[in-house]
Symmetry: C2
Subunit: 138 residues, 2 copies
DNA sequence: ATTCCTGATTATAATTTTTATTAGGTTAAA
DNA sequence: TTTAACCTAATAAAAATTATAATCAGGAAT
């Protein structure tokens, strides 16, 4: 968290109360929240904080490379971790689980002459918990 | 194409004119079109075909496992190929390029006890063409 | 301290994307 | 041919995101 703030300052990002608050909520969450979820949580502490600010802030943070934006399902989701890792989406409980793996192809830096900057892999399936509960409707 | 139709019939999917038309457009496209693009193209031949039908059909085809739905950017995009392959999204020209690779982890069928059914990997970066043109604003 | 400037925030409107509804039409089976 | 099931079109509604304009906050210069 402190490192992120330091890097943001170095990049010339103005660190307002609102931006710090968004960053904090994201850092303390492990469930890849949607914009709506982040906003709802913040409203408890900052009742006037607008949804637009959350959108703006998330964009600023992403452009600064301090958070990740995930395209899973209809809504965008956000991940405070920028370490190379991937995600498992369970069709049963709809959870998004972090996977501590990194893509061997991405590490090469390029493929077919295209320069790779990042990768986002989503594994779809049924998680261990749902398998146990027999929610595997295959 | 013929195989797809055969499999759809076997699965009990009613093959209407509209559904065939959507499937055909998708099969003849290599640029991973959005719902809007598919609809626009179809309107030329079928002026009354509604957007809702395109949405419905794409959902039917996806649930039947005959097409792939891609979450890249804001709009959903569709891919007629269900063979294991992945995608490269160029930040320069915004093209989506097919990558003829398959994920070694997905082939194992499971990870951390979670059952894998499919994977969707998106590599972000700058494509070979844009690199040449110096569009690599890194 | 006051004014000015820049950029952030708020509130709201507008747009875009997706899903739901409903009435009418088609299709396929009995 | 009649019935039941399902599909389509048109429309409305909902959900998600972006744009706009007014306001506000913090520094820099006066």
């Amino acid at each position: 968290m402190d490192n992120k703030i330091k890097r943001l300052k170095e990049k010339g990002v103005v660190l307002t109360i609102q931006r710090m608050a968004v960053l904090e909520v994201l850092n303390n969450s492990s469930n890849h929240p949607t914009v709506e979820k982040i906003h709802k949580k913040l409203l408890r502490k900052y009742p006037t904080l607008s949804l637009a600010t959350v959108y703006n802030t998330l964009q600023v943070l992403r452009q600064a490379g301090e958070i990740q934006e995930l395209n899973i399902g209809r809504e965008k989701r956000f991940d405070p971790s920028i370490d190379p890792h991937h995600h498992f989406y369970c069709r049963g409980c709809e959870r998004i689980i972090d996977l501590e793996i990194s893509c061997p192809i991405a590490q090469k830096g390029s493929i077919d002459g295209h320069k790779i900057e990042s990768v986002q892999a989503i594994f779809f399936g049924t998680c261990a918990d749902c398998l146990k509960k027999g929610k595997d409707n295959a």
